[in-house]
C-alpha cells in the first residue's frame, strides 16, 4: 500500500514535469510580457490539478489497456493468418475512430464555411451541412485506406519512404489543380485525424504486427501507420475539393 502510494506520487511528479513548460510559458507571457494579473487563480489551480490527475491516469491506462489490446490483437491476427480480416479490421479501426473525431467535426464545419464564403456551394439550404458531412466521410475513408496500406506494407516489409515520398509528390501535384480555398484545409486535415486514443492503439498494432511476423523489425517496419494516416487525408481532401463542384 505504502509503495503503491509512493508510486502514485512519483507518477504525479512526472506529470507535473510534463506540464511545467506550459505553466512557465503562460505565466511568463501573462505576467512579464502582457503585464496582467492571472485572473481566477483558484479556478486555474483546480484546473491544473485536474490536468495532472488526468494525465497520470491516462498514462497508466495506456500501459494497462491500450498497448496490450493493440498488441494482443496484432498477435491474434498474425496467428489466424487471414489477410482479409486483418485488413478489414485495419479499415474499420481507421474509419471508425476518425468519423467520430471531435477535432475533425470542428474542422469540417469550418471548412464548409470557407467553401460557402468562397461561393463554391450552391445557395440550397443544407448545402453547408452536406458539404461538412461528406468532407468528414472523405477524411474517415482516407484514414481507413491509410491503415490498410500501412498494415499491408508491414506484412510485405516495403520500405516506407518510397510510399510516403510518392504520396508527397501526389499532394504537390494535386495542389496545383485543386481550388485554392481547399488547400489550407487539406493540409491541416492530415494533422487532426490522429487522436489521443487512436495513436497509442495504432502504434501498438503496428509494432505488435512487426514483432509477430518473422523477418520484420519492429523499429523499421512497426512504425509508420500514423504517417500514412496523416498523409492520405491530404490527398483525399484535395481530390474532394476538385470533385465536389462536379458532383454536388
Amino acid at each position: 500500500m505504502r509503495t503503491g502510494l509512493f508510486r502514485f506520487f512519483g507518477l504525479i511528479a512526472e506529470s507535473l514535469r510534463d506540464l511545467a513548460p506550459i505553466i512557465i510559458v503562460i505565466g511568463f507571457f501573462q505576467l512579464v510580457v502582457l503585464r496582467q494579473p492571472i485572473p481566477d487563480l483558484a479556478e486555474i489551480l483546480l484546473g491544473l490539478f485536474f490536468v495532472l490527475i488526468g494525465l497520470t491516469l491516462f498514462i497508466q491506462g495506456l500501459e494497462l489497456g491500450l498497448f496490450p489490446i493493440g498488441e494482443g490483437m496484432a498477435n491474434a491476427f498474425a496467428r489466424k493468418g487471414s489477410l482479409f480480416w486483418l485488413l478489414a479490421f485495419s479499415f474499420a479501426l481507421g474509419f471508425g475512430t476518425t468519423a467520430a473525431e471531435p477535432a475533425l467535426i470542428a474542422v469540417a464545419a469550418e471548412a464548409a464555411e470557407v467553401a460557402a464564403a468562397g461561393g463554391v456551394l450552391g445557395t440550397a439550404p443544407g448545402a453547408q451541412a452536406d458539404y461538412a458531412f461528406y468532407l468528414r466521410g472523405t477524411v474517415a475513408l482516407s484514414v481507413g485506406v491509410a491503415l490498410v496500406i500501412g498494415v499491408f506494407r508491414i506484412l510485405k516489409g516495403w520500405p516506407i519512404h518510397y510510399l510516403i515520398i510518392g504520396g508527397y509528390l501526389l499532394v504537390v501535384i494535386l495542389t496545383f489543380f485543386a481550388p485554392a480555398s481547399i488547400v489550407g484545409i487539406a493540409y491541416d486535415s492530415g494533422g487532426v485525424t490522429t487522436s489521443t486514443i487512436t495513436v497509442p492503439l495504432v502504434t501498438a498494432l503496428g509494432v505488435g504486427l512487426a514483432t509477430a511476423i518473422k523477418g520484420r523489425n519492429p523499429m523499421i517496419d512497426g512504425f509508420g501507420l500514423i504517417a500514412f494516416a496523416s498523409l492520405t487525408p491530404m490527398i483525399f481532401v484535395l481530390l474532394f475539393g476538385m470533385l465536389w463542384p462536379a458532383l454536388g
Binding site: 510559458v25 490536468v51 491516462f58 473525431e101 464564403a117 494533422g191 502504434t203 523489425n217 523499429m219
Partner: protein
C-alpha cells in the same frame, strides 16, 4: 462552483465515452466475432480503458478550466494591433518585424504544448521500448517539440506576410526527402510518425486560436482563408527535427570515436 464542476465532469465524461465507443466497438467486435478467442488479461485491459476514459475526462476539463481560456485570451491580446503597434499608433505599412512577440509566443506555446501531449508520450514510450533504449523518451519528445515550435512560429510568420502555404510545404517536403536519403533507416518510420502525433488534444486548440487571432486582426487577411495552415506546419517540421536528432546523435558518436582513437 463545486456543482458546476461536477456537472462539467459528468458531461465531459459522457463525451469522452462517446468518443471511445466506436473504438471499443471495433476492437471488441473483431475480438469476439472474428478472432473468437478470449482476450488475455481482459480484466486489466478493461481497467486500463476505464483509466483512459477517466484520465482524458479530467485532462480535458483541466485544460478547459486552466489553460485554454488564458491561452486563447493571450493569443488574442498578443495579436491585438494595440499591443503590437502601441496604443493609438497610426498603422501605416505592415512590417513583419513588429510581430516578433507573436513569433516568440508561437514557438514557446508550440514547444510547451507538445511536451504535454499525451499521444506523443505514448509513442515515445513505445519507441524507447522497441529500440531497446536507443531512442530516448525525452530526446524524442524534445526533438518533436522543437519541430512544432519552429513550425508554429513559421506558420504565424506566413500569416503575417501572407505568402502562399504550399511554397513552404513543398520546401519542407524537399528537406524531408534529402534527409531521408541521408538518415539511418531505423529512424525514418518513427520520424514520419512523429509528424502526425504532435497535433492533438493540447496543441490544436491553442495553435488554432493563435492562427485565428492573427488572421482576424491583420487588415486584409481573412480568418477563414489565412487562419489555416498552422497545423500543417506543426505536422511537417517535427519530421525534419526528429531525423535531425538522429543525425546529430550519430555525429556525436562519430566524434567521440574519433576523439577516443
Amino acid at each position: 462552483m463545486i456543482m458546476e464542476t461536477l456537472i462539467q465532469l459528468f458531461w465531459t465524461a459522457a463525451v469522452t465515452v462517446r468518443d471511445v465507443l466506436p473504438i471499443a466497438v471495433v476492437l471488441f467486435g473483431f475480438q469476439y466475432l472474428v478472432i473468437r478467442r478470449p482476450l488475455p488479461h481482459l480484466r486489466r485491459i478493461i481497467i486500463g480503458f476505464i483509466y483512459v476514459v477517466i484520465g482524458l475526462t479530467f485532462f480535458l476539463i483541466g485544460l478547459e478550466k486552466a489553460l485554454f481560456p488564458l491561452g486563447k485570451l493571450m493569443a488574442k491580446q498578443l495579436t491585438d494591433p494595440a499591443f503590437i503597434h502601441g496604443i493609438g499608433a497610426v498603422v501605416g505599412e505592415l512590417r513583419w518585424q513588429d510581430y516578433y512577440m507573436v513569433y516568440l509566443f508561437a514557438a514557446a506555446i508550440g514547444f510547451a504544448t507538445t511536451i504535454a501531449e499525451p499521444s506523443l508520450i505514448a509513442v515515445a514510450i513505445k519507441a524507447n521500448q522497441v529500440s531497446g533504449g536507443a531512442v530516448g523518451i525525452w530526446g524524442l519528445r524534445i526533438a518533436v517539440a522543437i519541430g512544432v515550435a519552429f513550425g508554429v512560429a513559421l506558420g504565424t510568420f506566413r500569416i503575417v506576410t501572407s505568402t502562399p502555404l504550399h511554397y513552404y510545404i513543398i520546401a519542407g517536403y524537399i528537406i524531408v526527402i534529402i534527409q531521408t536519403m541521408r538518415t539511418e533507416r531505423a529512424i525514418i518510420p518513427l520520424a514520419y510518425d512523429s509528424g502526425g502525433v504532435t497535433t492533438s488534444t493540447v496543441t490544436v486548440p491553442l495553435v488554432t486560436a493563435l492562427g485565428l487571432g492573427l488572421a482576424t486582426t491583420i487588415p486584409g487577411r481573412s480568418s477563414l482563408l489565412d487562419g489555416f495552415g498552422l497545423i500543417a506546419f506543426a505536422s511537417l517540421c517535427p519530421i525534419i527535427t526528429v531525423m535531425g536528432y538522429a543525425q546529430f546523435g550519430r555525429w556525436l558518436r562519430l566524434r567521440r570515436q574519433v576523439e577516443g582513437d
